[in-house]
Structure formats: C-alpha cells, structure tokens
Symmetry: C2
Subunit: 230 residues, 2 copies
DNA sequence: TTGAGTTATATGGATAGACATAAAAAAGGC
DNA sequence: GCCTTTTTTATGTCTATCCATATAACTCAA
C-alpha cells in the first residue's frame, strides 16, 4: 500500500508555490483539508508544512493558517570548517607554522571586542596555514588566560590554536563577521602579496557561558572567495 | 498533568552534551530508553534528537544509534536581505539611483559565470544604494534577456533590479560568494572612497530551472562587515 | 578464513486521536 | 460606536501503535 510521505507533500507544495499555483501571500488550505486531499493523516501534512516554514517558504500562525511568505527569506548557510580540513578537501598538503607567541594584557580594542571589563592576561598567537605552496591564511589569535588558563601550557608549534580550542571547549557562543581589509607590511610578508592588496578576512569572538574565551582574526590570501549554494 | 515537551528534552540533551556528561563521540541511549527515562512517548524524544542532529550537534544512523558528533558542525547562517530593508532596519533613509543601463551581448567572463553556451543578449545595469548620506552599495547587475525578456520593458529608474527580480521570479537556484576587491576608478567615484581601497563584495548567480537568469556583483562601501551569531 | 546470506535492532516514518494554545472573530455591555 | 469578554478555530504538540528500512552483527558454507 503506497503511503504518501511528508517529503512528497513538501515537494508538491513547493512546486505549487514555485509554479505560481499559490501566489505570494496566498493562503493555503488548512492542514485537515490538505490531509483529506492527500489521503493521509494531519500529522504528515503538518510535518511537511512545518519544515517548509522553517526553510522560509511559508509562514504559519495559529488560527490564521498557513500562507506563502511575501518575501521568501533568502538565507545562506556557510559551514565553517577547520582550515586544515578545508585545505585537505582541496586536495592540497596542509602545513602549519607558528609565527609568534606572546603573553600580554588585553589591549583596549580587544577588551571592547571580547566585552572585557578589565585588561585580562591574554595569549597572543600569530599562525600561518599553508595549502601546498600557497600561503592560505594568517590566524591572529587572542586567548583569554583568565577563562582558559590551560592555554598557557599548550604547545601551539605543531597544532593550530583553533584545533586545540575546539578539542578543549567544543561548545560556545560565537559572533562572526566577514569584511575586507588591506594588507599591511606583516600580512604582505606572511601571505606573499603586495602591500595594500585587498584581503578577505573573518573575525570571530567566542564566549563560554558568557565568559570571554577567544578572539581570532583570520586573513585569507589574495583572491579567496567564500561560496555556497541554496 | 505536566507533560514533558520535546523542547525541554532538546535543552536537557544539549546541556548534557555541553557540560560533558556525554563526551564527544559518545553514544546516547536509544530513543526507547530515553523515552522511558523522561516518561514520554518515543516520538517526543525522536523529535528532540532529530532536530539536534539537524543543528549539527548529534549524528544519527539507523541501527547504530545516536552519538555526539566528533566535530560539531559549525555553520553560520546569514539572512540575505534586500538592500533597502537592510538600510531601513538601520534606521537610515534609503535612496536608490540608476547609474547606467545598456543592452549588450554577454561578454566571455559572464558566459562562464552564468554557464552560458552562447553570448545571449543581456541587460547591464549599474545602480547605487544609499543609506542616509553614505554610499552603501554599488549593484552591478546583468540580466539574461533570453530567459527574462520582460526585463527589457521594466523601469529600473525608481526600483532596483533586485526588488523587481524578486517580485518577478521569486524562486530560483542561487550560487553566492563573498570576497575582497580593490576599488577601481568607477567604484571609488560611486562609493566615495579612495582608489585601491579594500572593499567587501558579494557575487550571486541565479538560475530558474537551469536557465541562467542573472548575475550580480554587489560592492559595499568601506568598512562594511557582514556579521551573524550562532 | 572469507564471503554470502540471514537476523536482529535502532532509527525513520505514518496514523488516529486527544488536548493545548494563540489569536481572529463574534458577542455582549456600556 | 467602542471596549471587554467569550467563542471558535487552525496550528502546535503528545501519545500509542504500527510498519519500513538501513545496517551491524551473526550464521554458515565453501
């Protein structure tokens, strides 16, 4: 007995919306009626519609019903991989190098970024991630030693701080941002590009139960593009 | 009678994972047992675990069971809003200006980007989006007139092509990418920045049932940062 | 020992029925 | 007419029970 699946219903509804059978803003029949039409239980229709609403195609409200979103939400999802994995998945050999390591007090700009009230002691690391022969990314990492004192003892000469941190505190709240920056003398040297070259950079601040953990600035080599499809 | 909700179970499981009660890679009890523990139906546990798996915290496989992901997937979700809405939600006045409009044949680089086999006729638009007094974004838009002939008649002097396209073909397949670029003479003039300034840019190619629709390059004013939290 | 076939089992999914809840619509009071 | 209260109703969620399906683990023969 061929039962109809919530997937089929999802696709049918999606197709009806895309083909314009239900226009933007139009109201869909209620779950009960759709279930009768499809010859299935209400729960099956419910799951299909609920998932489509999560994906941003539909809008649902108790009592008022389900309608096609006026402006379907366009959202891009980027997986944030470990640099090492990203490079390896490109089929390139991954090399890592620690350029610099110092223990200091958080400068004012860092206190602002990490929402610190006092200039906590921090570990500042500067690392290079290489893909084959090309200098892929410079990682400028600041770790709060008050929150993560264990970082003081960690050896970052063979393993990047990102991987160490993920193994140490796998779950945290994150704020992430992407922007463009110009290569300064250090970046030009480390990434092998010209002074002033436009570079793509990501910045990430991390908290563990509201305690500031780390701030990192990841500057990518010339021509890097972060892409996705949806 | 206080029934337990799938949300509570989700939070309880999440907390157990975050607190390390279940370590990375550890196997969770089977749904049936968890349901017995929580005193609820298996479907309730199922929904909680299913959603946590979707969020990237857990990994599930038939017969083998549920376990905590070794490397919890870190994914960032960016909502891609209309420039107008983005600017308005900043509390700024939105102004739009059409800088240039020409009908031509797709140049070679565009054919590559849009996966065109022939140099189709295209409509090329150059637009400026202004937030208050600051030049916010330059939109460099190419519309395939073979796929969307109606664009030839559309008036883009008052409404941006992005909004027109969304109203005309709300659903499509999209490939999106972000990178850094240097301001050329045109960009420097239109965005009011210096020649060579590093600028953040997004590129988007769009298809409707495999037919190439449009390619757009959106270059943002100096200092723009695309941010999100998770 | 190894490969092919079988079985057991955890998740995946469907159903019917019940109650909860938010909010639109109707009813009532002034 | 206008505000408050009640009713109605579509979605939200839970239960109990079924069958489906992938696959790990086992069986057994070559």
């Amino acid at each position: 007995m061929g039962q109809i699946s919530y997937r089929q219903i999802k696709e049918d509804v999606r197709s009806k919306v895309v083909r314009g059978v239900w226009a933007l803003g139009a109201e869909l029949p209620k779950e009960e009626d759709m279930a009768a039409d499809y010859g299935c239980a209400r729960a099956t229709v419910n799951r299909a519609l609920r998932e489509l609403a999560e994906e941003g195609l539909l809008e649902r409200k108790r009592k008022s019903g389900t309608r096609v979103r006026q402006a379907p939400v366009r959202q891009a999802r980027f997986d944030i991989p470990l640099v090492r994995r990203e490079i390896e998945s490109l089929g390139e050999r991954y090399t890592y190098r620690l350029l610099e390591r110092e223990e200091t007090q958080a400068p004012a700009w860092l206190c602002a970024r990490m929402r610190l009230t006092r200039p906590d002691p921090v570990l500042h690391l500067r690392c290079l991630h290489v893909a084959g022969d090309t200098h892929y990314q410079v990682e400028d990492r600041w770790i709060n030693l008050t929150t993560i004192p264990a970082a003081r003892e960690a050896d970052f000469t063979t393993q990047g701080p990102n991987e160490w941190l993920i193994a140490t505190i796998p779950f945290s709240d994150v704020e992430i941002g992407f922007s463009a920056t110009a290569a300064d003398a250090d970046l030009a040297r480390d990434l092998g590009c010209a002074l002033g070259d436009p570079l793509f950079q990501g910045e990430r601040s991390t908290w563990l139960n509201d305690a500031p953990v780390t701030y990192v600035r990841m500057v990518f080599g010339r021509g890097y593009k972060m892409t996705t499809r949806y």
